[in-house]
């Protein structure tokens, strides 16, 4: 099982430049909205044509600009789950599935459709129209329909964005099971790092149309390489830095010098620290500094502090368990610390 994508395409706002090789399993394309994720999927499915590059799926060349190969979407055998599912509104659930079964020999259609109706628990809904279904049911129909055409890979475009929170979780559990049993490559497009963390093995961060090298999801969350990867992984605090030596950076926005566990290389431009990586420090530990409490915001399950370090120009965001903050009794200055392992050294621009 393999999917290899190397494409360039000039777009109005940016140039799409996506490079990745997936070898089975679920790979995420993670990026903010409008960064080219959906466009990448459309290129793989043949709905859009890249300017240059190659797309190869399991030894079959779908697109190669130098050899002038550009297979039609019909010939690519790629399953596509659209963001809003794109169910045919004038057909019932059963009709939608039969439409997708067109490619099968006549005598196999009914069995294949019945089988999908059963496995996706759609038997009772089979005669309803898409607008009569719940969001979760719609997604099941869309998945069943995509799988009926026996695709060699699955493209999932923000599969949960059309669902409300409660349904989301239920549907995610179902999708998990399905992905576990699916043998082809899966490309999972999302802007939600938590979803990606739970469902995917590898991840490719996409920022302004440009892809970063593929990594495991765990690696990305622990040590992002670039500012854009850190941003999409949920990091809230960034400071431009000056390298001091291989384990020390001077954070210009915060006016402090931090020790890092990661080696500081020459392309390091920023330091990033997650909001929950800061803690209230005691004396004697490295990376501690005084900061003035600028704002206290009561969040759902934690307290958010906006802190201005002495000598700094921009505030940092710190998240504390509510109890811990209450125990401090409203100080106007706190001693903040961050472990060297928690300081991310990043390249690129904000």
């Amino acid at each position: 099982m393999s999917l290899s994508v190397h494409i360039y395409k000039e777009l109005r706002d940016f140039t799409l430049n996506v490079q990745f090789d997936s070898d089975g399993g679920v790979m995420a394309l993670l990026g903010a909205s409008g960064c080219g994720k959906s466009m990448t999927l459309k290129c793989i499915a043949g709905l859009e044509t890249p300017d240059r590059g190659t797309i190869v799926l399991n030894d079959s060349v779908l697109f190669d600009s130098t050899k002038r190969i550009n297979k039609s979407p019909q010939a690519r055998h790629v399953g596509y789950l659209f963001q809003h599912y794109a169910l045919f509104p004038t057909m019932t659930v059963k009709g939608n599935l039969y439409a997708a079964a067109q490619r099968l020999p006549q005598e196999k259609r009914k069995r294949a459709v019945d089988e999908k109706l059963r496995t996706f628990r759609l038997e009772t809904a089979q005669n309803l129209y898409p607008r009569q279904l719940s969001g979760g049911q719609q997604q099941r129909v869309a998945l069943a329909r995509a799988l009926l055409s026996e695709p060699e890979c699955l493209l999932l475009d923000e599969p949960f964005s059309a669902l409300d929170n409660y349904l989301k979780w239920q549907t995610e559990l179902e999708l998990r099971e399905l992905l576990k049993n699916y043998r082809g490559d899966v490309v999972y497009v999302s802007h939600d790092r938590d979803e990606v963390y739970r469902l995917c093995r590898d991840v490719c961060v996409l920022a302004d149309g440009r892809s970063e090298p593929k990594r495991s999801v765990r690696d990305l969350m622990e040590a992002p390489w670039t500012v854009s990867a850190a941003l999409i992984s949920g990091c809230k605090n960034f400071s431009r830095v000056q390298r001091i030596d291989e384990n020390h950076v001077k954070c210009l926005s915060w006016g402090v010098t931090l020790e890092t566990a990661q080696e500081v290389n020459n392309v390091c431009t920023y330091a990033g620290v997650r909001a929950h990586s800061f803690h209230i420090a005691r004396g004697g530990e490295p990376n501690r500094f005084d900061a003035k409490v600028v704002q206290v915001i009561d969040d759902t399950f934690s307290t958010i502090l906006m802190l201005l370090p002495d000598g700094g120009t921009s505030a940092i965001r710190m998240e504390l368990p509510k109890k811990e903050w209450a125990a401090l009794r409203n100080p106007s200055v706190v001693l903040v610390g961050v472990a060297p392992e928690q300081v991310m050294t990043l390249s690129g621009e904000l």
Partner: protein, 220 residues
């Protein structure tokens, strides 16, 4: 009362609307895909009959189909058929006049179509003709049907171009519209009024049908 004019009007309208339905839908579908400039030019040309006086359309048609003109003379020579002054000559005139109605409504309906549905069909391996007939057309059905009915209604009422190209021969080319004019001209007011009423009833019924179609569309 001789019902021939009504029969003639209905068959002319039905044939014209039938032809224009297919040509108009095809034009709407293909023109929507053309580059902007070409689309703009074609749009103007194809919509002109809607705003031109029907007599101008009739005049232009006679310039082409008239017995001594290019097409008319050629057909007369090879098939020994005159293209004007037949009951079906009116089909030419009426088709041109109602074409913009069908074309415009069909284009509006197609433009409102969610292209991701066609994309979904393509990734599922469905042929383009399957997508057109089973996905695109059903989704746009109400808009297109409303356009067809409106075109049919307009066809029933066509007078100017029809009278120029098919003339008025009682029992041969007379339509409701030309009949009313003739009866009024010859002072037969009572009969003219009857035809006027017949015309109003039929047109109102057709428009009612359009409204019902549009209402149904709004609901779904």
């Amino acid at each position: 009362m001789d019902w021939f004019p009504l029969l003639n009007s209905l068959r002319i309208a039905a044939i014209s609307a039938g032809i224009v339905f297919f040509v108009g839908v095809a034009a709407a579908y293909y023109i929507a895909r053309l580059p902007r400039l070409v689309k703009g030019v074609l749009d103007v040309v194809l919509t002109l009959p809607l705003v031109l006086p029907p007599t101008v359309v009739g005049y232009l048609l006679l310039c082409v189909l008239g017995p001594r003109r290019v097409v008319g003379a050629w057909v007369a020579e090879h098939f020994a058929v005159k293209l004007t002054m037949q009951w079906w000559s009116a089909v030419f005139a009426v088709s041109v006049i109602i074409f913009p109605l069908m074309y415009r409504t069909a284009r509006g309906a197609f433009e409102g179509f969610d292209e991701t549905l066609a994309d979904a069909g393509r990734t599922l391996g469905l042929s383009n003709s399957y997508i057109f007939w089973h996905i695109r057309m059903p989704a746009c059905r109400q808009g297109i049907l409303a356009g067809a009915v409106l075109a049919f209604a307009r066809a029933l009422g066509e007078y100017g171009a029809t009278s120029m190209i098919a003339g008025y021969t009682p029992g041969r080319t007379a339509t409701v519209a030309t009949e009313v004019y003739q009866l009024w001209r010859t002072g037969n007011d009572a009969l003219a009024l009857r035809w006027v009423l017949v015309n109003i009833v039929i047109s109102a019924a057709v428009l009612l049908a359009v409204n019902l179609l549009e209402k149904k569309e709004g609901r779904s």
